[in-house]
Symmetry: C2
Subunit: 224 residues, 2 copies
């Protein structure tokens, strides 16, 4: 105390602007987790978002779901996690010859429980309701579960719900939540290792982009 913050920063870049990274002191060691910087100028550790979303969608398709909504999805943007995961969803539909319906991709203001509840409520008020919700993080999915409960819909009897992240709450919700689990041990290990490399050699120019493992954990919300 005080901690040597200037030598051990790991940033979750959701609230960072690209210029914050471009204009930073180049000798300040930084590793990005999750979201990637637009310029690829910073070490990064994350999962293969396209593949992960494709596999999650394939899981829903294999259960017979055909009108899969994406809560938190995005059709624009180049590098954002939301865009990459939406791309993976589209790939899965295409592979089985299902048409893509842009109306099933629902943007959210933020990725919190309340946003998932609102989005799911709006989707269920439509004439053509979805039969599954692919939620781009667990908070959205848990909010969606609450919305479905309030509307008297049973999960997974009436609809399936999937999240991303495998946060602690997803194991304990009612029903428990199927989710895409990044290998957090691997992410932590590689991120610290990359930071230590930067600290040892602040002038190194090579940029690392590590793709960590992920797996789909099937729980009650998709019949597990």
């Amino acid at each position: 105390m005080p901690l040597p913050v200037s030598r051990t920063v790991i940033l979750s870049p959701l609230s960072l602007l690209p210029r914050d990274l471009v204009t930073r002191d180049r000798r300040l060691p930084v590793v990005l987790l999750g979201e990637r910087s637009a310029k690829g100028s910073t070490d990064h550790v994350g999962i293969d978002n396209v593949l992960a979303a494709r596999e999650a969608t394939e899981h829903l398709l294999a259960r017979g779901r055909r009108r899969i909504a994406v809560i938190g999805g995005a059709l624009r943007g180049r590098q954002g996690t939301d865009r990459l995961r939406t791309d993976g969803y589209r790939e899965a539909l295409k592979a089985v010859g299902l048409p893509f319906d842009a109306h099933l991709v629902v943007a959210v203001e933020a990725f919190h429980w309340q946003d998932g509840l609102r989005a799911a409520t709006a989707l269920m008020a439509r004439e053509h309701r979805p039969d599954a919700l692919l939620c781009l993080n667990d908070h959205l999915a848990l909010g969606a579960l609450r919305a479905l409960h309030e509307q008297g819909r049973s999960v997974p009897e009436d609809l399936d719900v999937v999240g991303f992240d495998d946060i602690e709450a997803s194991r304990f919700s009612v029903p428990s939540l199927t989710t895409v689990a990044p290998d957090k041990q691997e992410i932590a290990r590689v991120a610290v290792s990359l930071l230590l490399e930067r600290i040892d050699d602040p002038d190194a120019t090579a940029v690392h982009d590590h793709v960590a493992r992920h797996r789909i954990i099937v729980r009650e919300s998709t019949g597990g």
Copy 2:
């Protein structure tokens, strides 16, 4: 960046030992939130834990509950939040002439979802089951809700469940969770104000102990 950590520390003292506070540089401004230091030598902001637990217990008693278990409770310790809340529970029983049963106070290893699930599962395996669970934080309560679901018990039809803290998950769980909500705005405002006073006058000797407001938010887990 780097942040001026040495001038703005607010510590949640659960992982601090009393000697960490006693031996710290006295000019380092510190305000404790929640848990109090044993020696009362540090500025502190928290709620009236005895009163809050008493009111939560009275809420359960008013609903006709008579075998109320305390998950995370403690009969020893002088200043701990767990001890103070258990005292409040005992006061409420005494006020209505109900005998205190030490077997209904269940210690936990930590205050996480998993610990609440384990404690509730063990309580429900007893011959004389409780008819309500007073859980000393929301994580314990949410884990307990999951345990009751797994055992086919309905909340609040078969049992009531109450938590403390009003974390975001408690609004969205199924059923939603009745909880003791500290006034977080007040806690944040007073804590920052006390810190600023310490920074302005590092040699001040008066120690502040601010009691913030709280209220019980009645949700589905107790019939709300």
